[in-house]
């Protein structure tokens, strides 16, 4: 193929790739053409050709920038948000609260944080979803980069009467771990009194127009939970979000073998595991009501040990997971 024909072919390919939306492939072809033109001294209109190609590459680069700078998860219309919710709240076994919670979580996953926060706020009214909704509201605020908003929301809850102390403690542990993961150093108040104390300190600072070290937000060290204390916190009614668990079999032919399972979901103290059919042997150790000793619980914060009470064992009979088992275990930390 002569050189002119080769260049023409490359330019045509570049145009076609561009029309297909394949920007990088188009640029590659234009670059190949440029190289070929530059190498060939005898080519007529060489400079004009190179300038023309350079303009085309500029246009492509602008298109690429537009695409890359476009918001990754923009707010979409209410109709589409409703569809997103519907997509995820479809399990017939779920109650209304759980469905609504799943729908709101889906909205958050698709970056529809404002609507998600509004839906989670509605779910604060239900006992069954209150704590999960609160955790997700904090998550949404954090995702919107309004850490201050999240903290002020948390402090407002401490002052309100929506949550009981047990719930507040759960939210506290969750929020502290969320802030730690984001690298935010902030000592959170744990009780209403501590929030009041901070407010009084701030107001008296303002009255006296004095500059003081805002190191610990007026909290005493003993009142905060350090990372080392998380384990003992988890030992009370509060259970951290568990990602996976390790179980040591203590009897039968599998004695001593450690199995690790991912947690599918968690509701308070109860974690739900999916046990593949290939691990059928281990199912025999799970009798409803029986206690499993020596369980390792892996959370985002770290590992904590304890035992577990088997509350449900169900074989999945339909769907792609047919033959696998769903096992619910109540976390017990001594």
């Amino acid at each position: 193929m002569n050189i002119v024909k080769k260049i023409k072919t490359l330019l045509k390919e570049a145009e076609l790739y561009h029309s297909q939306g394949l920007m990088y492939e188009a640029i590659a072809k234009y670059n190949d053409a440029t190289e070929l033109i530059q190498k060939n001294e005898q080519l007529k209109n060489k400079q004009n050709l190179l300038e023309g190609i350079s303009k085309k590459i500029n246009v492509l680069n602008k298109d690429i920038s537009k695409i890359e700078l476009a918001p990754k998860k923009p707010e979409v219309s209410e109709n589409i948000q409703d569809l997103i919710k519907k997509m995820y709240a479809f399990s017939p076994d779920m109650d209304e609260g759980a469905k609504a919670l799943e729908g709101a979580v889906a909205l958050a996953k698709f970056g529809q944080f404002k609507r998600a926060i509004s839906d989670f706020n509605e779910l604060l009214k239900r006992d069954s979803t209150r704590v999960d909704a609160a955790k997700n509201i904090l998550r949404c605020h954090m995702a919107l980069f309004s850490i201050d908003e999240a903290i002020s929301q948390y402090e407002k809850w401490l002052l309100d009467d929506i949550f009981n102390p047990d719930h507040l403690n759960k939210i506290y542990i969750f929020f502290e771990s969320l802030l730690n993961n984001e690298g935010v150093e902030k000592t959170l108040p744990k009780t209403k009194e501590q929030v009041d104390k901070v407010k009084v300190a701030v107001s008296s600072e303002n009255d006296q127009v004095q500059i003081s070290e805002p190191k610990d937000a007026g909290l005493e060290k003993s009142e905060t939970v350090s990372e080392g204390e998380v384990e003992s916190e988890a030992g009370s009614e509060d259970v951290l979000d568990v990602n996976s668990i390790g179980i040591s079999v203590d009897s039968g032919p599998q004695k001593g073998h450690v199995y690790e399972f991912k947690v599918r979901f968690q509701l308070g103290k109860v974690v739900s595991l999916l046990i593949p059919s290939r691990d059928k042997d281990v199912i025999e150790n799970f009798k409803i009501g029986s206690e499993i000793h020596d369980v390792q619980y892996y959370s985002n914060v770290g590992l904590f040990k304890g035992s577990g009470l088997v509350s449900a064992v169900k074989e999945i009979t339909i769907g792609p997971l047919r033959g696998d088992y769903c096992v619910d275990i109540e976390v017990m930390v001594h």
Partner: protein, 204 residues
């Protein structure tokens, strides 16, 4: 997983078009929307961004009529193909019953096809679904571009690259003209319904 409503005698299942960015998933769906009006039961919803790239998903509701006294409804989705939307693709795959993998026949997209298929396998696995077990159909799209002078891969090569182990039904197609689009969807629906029927029998 398909939703079975015994009270309303309804089966609702979910088909997802998967594949690399710009391979023609939305074009497939647009053709279905235009050409299968009888089966389409609502509006097609597209959420796209700059450069007509699918942002979250496209959605098309369809009805297949009655099968053994059950009203069969199908929700067809596409995923965003661009690499950076991995988490969205995973979200859209939740509860999937059947998958159509749209591969791009352009030779320059060979690697993207393979990466996307691996991504599909990985995302299915996260939901506990085995790619070898789920109803899956492959489409070799953009066959028409050979006529435009662009280098495209031979079907045999694409089969070797993508379907050597899976051995699923595959169709050459040109979504822009509609060729092969209906055949691909019909095959996927057939496999999905067979699979659902088998599951329902076993579940009884």
């Amino acid at each position: 997983m398909a939703i079975l409503n015994l009270k309303k005698r309804q089966i609702e299942c979910k088909i997802v078009y998967y594949g690399p960015g710009r391979c023609g998933k939305t074009t497939n769906m647009e053709h279905i929307y235009k050409s299968y009006k009888k089966q389409v039961t609502g509006e097609m919803i597209s959420i796209d961004t700059e450069g007509d790239r699918t942002l979250f998903f496209d959605f098309l509701p369809m009805g297949l009529g009655e099968i053994k006294g059950f009203d069969v409804r199908v929700q067809v989705y596409t995923v965003p193909g661009q690499v950076q939307y991995r988490s969205t693709r995973k979200c859209v795959l939740k509860g999937v019953d059947g998958v159509i993998f749209v591969a791009d026949s352009l030779a320059v997209r060979r690697e993207k096809n393979m990466l996307s298929l691996k991504d599909l396998q990985h995302n299915l696995k996260e939901y506990g679904i085995n790619i070898f077990k789920i109803p899956l159909v492959m489409q070799h799209n953009k066959r028409d571009l050979a006529g435009e002078g662009l280098p495209i891969m031979a079907v045999e090569q694409m089969e070797r690259d993508l379907n050597r182990q899976l051995k699923v039904p595959s169709f050459p197609a040109s979504a822009i003209s509609g060729q092969g689009v209906g055949a691909t969807l019909k095959e996927c629906l057939k496999l999905t319904l067979i699979s659902l029927k088998r599951e329902m029998k076993l579940g009884q």
